[in-house]
Amino acid sequence: MKNEIALEAKSIFKSFYDPVKYDVLKDISFTINRGEFVSITGKSGCGKSTLLYVLSTLDTDYSGELLIDNQSVTNKLENELASVRNEKIGFVFQFHYLLNEFSVLRNVMLPGFKSNRFSEEELEHNAFELLKKLGIEKLAKKMAHKISGGEKQRVAIARAMINNPLILMCDEPTGNLDNKNTEIVFEIFKDLINSFDKSILVVTHDQKFADQTQRTIIMEDGRIIASSGIIY
């Protein structure tokens, strides 16, 4: 299980053309194994977030090849990509993006509505178990806008997990959190890897956070310059 590849990028290039041609990603190749906790760091503007959105299939404007779960997702149709994201990728962003009109529980269940793999009761049960795991089950019935920032981020993690994805992709997941909540989120991530065997890819500029992950990819000017201290 440990050495199975969850995600593989093969020489990915990406350029912006506005206002002038500018290469954001240059020849990015790496793999993430199952159960691996990987962080990408680098200075602002080095292309780390852009890379994450390419890897997450949200951004399809790149060259090179991307494989998720050993299947190429390059050049797939929009709705096929949508179901890949739905089933295999969980997202945690800096902002929580919870739907204020829904309760915490419904928010967690939301990606499950799309995948339709479980009945509503099962889904609700799964969502509640996840919330329990993250220690926020007592918030389940509350409306999403009535809980604190740290709690919102934990709900967002639960939402990312509801479809039992292969890989969790996080863009500055602790960017808006204080030290205590950052620690909680980190512990949750570690726990997810240990008990669910998820892969986690975190883009962060929080060096302390990155140092605690299993592997750190350092980017500069659109290239990977180091991986866990190994200079390319």
């Binding site: 959105y53 949508a82 739905n86 993006y97 739907l99 419904r106 939301l110 339709n116 939402r159 990312a160």
Partner: protein, 419 residues
Amino acid sequence: MKNKHIFEIAWALLMSRSKQTLVAAIGVTFSVAFFISLLGFMEGINKLLDGFFLNRTPHIRLFNDVKPSANQPIDMDSTYSGYHNFLSSIKPAQARKEIYNVESIIKKLNSDNRVYGVASKVTAQAFYNLGNIELNGIINGIDVIQEAKLFNFSDYVFEGNFVDLNNKQNSIILGQGVADKILAKKNDLIQITTINGEQFSLKVIGFFQSGNAEIDKVQSYVSLGTCQKLLGKPSSYINDIQIKLNDMSLAPAIAKEYEQLFKIDAEDMQTTNAQFETGSSARTIISYAVGIVLLIVAGFGIYNILNMMIYEKMDTIAILKATGFSNADVKKIFVTISLSIGLGGALAGALVGLFFSGIIDLIPFNSRAAPRIDTYPVDYGIQYYSIAVSFAVITTYFAGWFPARKASSVDPVEIIRGK
């Protein structure tokens, strides 16, 4: 993706902008309500006006017209048969106004299953005597029972019972205009002079108001027998057969057929009253146009509100797409929002429309043209309700479709990176 969840998300978005949603729905409600009440009212008026005319107009009239023969002697002469003959100043020959063989014609008509009913009629010219003044008049001898059945004769008779024409000897129902001129009251005896110079006294048993004052100033009604007596003719004398058909639209074809069959002149109502349908349909088209414009305006309201909603709910759209909702799902959600506003507004509008129609129906309306009606006429036909509701739903579908397409093309990366 279950529809139930599409509805759930759509409903949540709706509720988050409940005030604007309500305003948009009220827009649809009023459009539908006005559409329904306007058309119902217009059609009520149309039916009333058409009724004035249709109720009193036979679909086909059989009579002997005064006109020159179509077969002039020169055409029968073999010498000139190959020529084109020009004749001027042809005069019609003295022809009898009465219809030959009335009994067998009526028998034949009654056995035709396209015919709803037949009423025979005798018309006599006469003068109403008022001292030494003589007023022009037309006395219609009618088959009272048939006339009432086919042409709603009873609707136009007031102060008296029309059946008395049959029951009382030498009785007459005077046109309102005539009665006013000769100051006749009910049960008065009036004098009339026929064109042959004979004088008769007739007893007034009621008055007649057709809605057309010109007609009422001239015409009066008596029974067939009385009229034949005025003319000094036998009881077989009939100069007009009025036919009502089951299907009015067949009149021109059947008129032609009867013309051939009975060797008589036949006139269908479509030919003699071409202007009539034009007016009706023009009024209907105008009211439909106004109603549809109202609905389109309401559609723009929905379009506007959905556009605003999309800008406000960019985050929601972005996260839905990031977590795997496809463009089609997002489009469905916004079309559902729009359709719910449309359908909810339209159904409420149907009820409000019914209410408005009810109010119009209560407004007093007194017209000399419509003696039997005292409030505005309204047509409650189900078709206006279904047209209004379905058109409202179609309009809102399109009003929602364009914003929905916009929502589905939102790039989540732009939204998420912008935070």
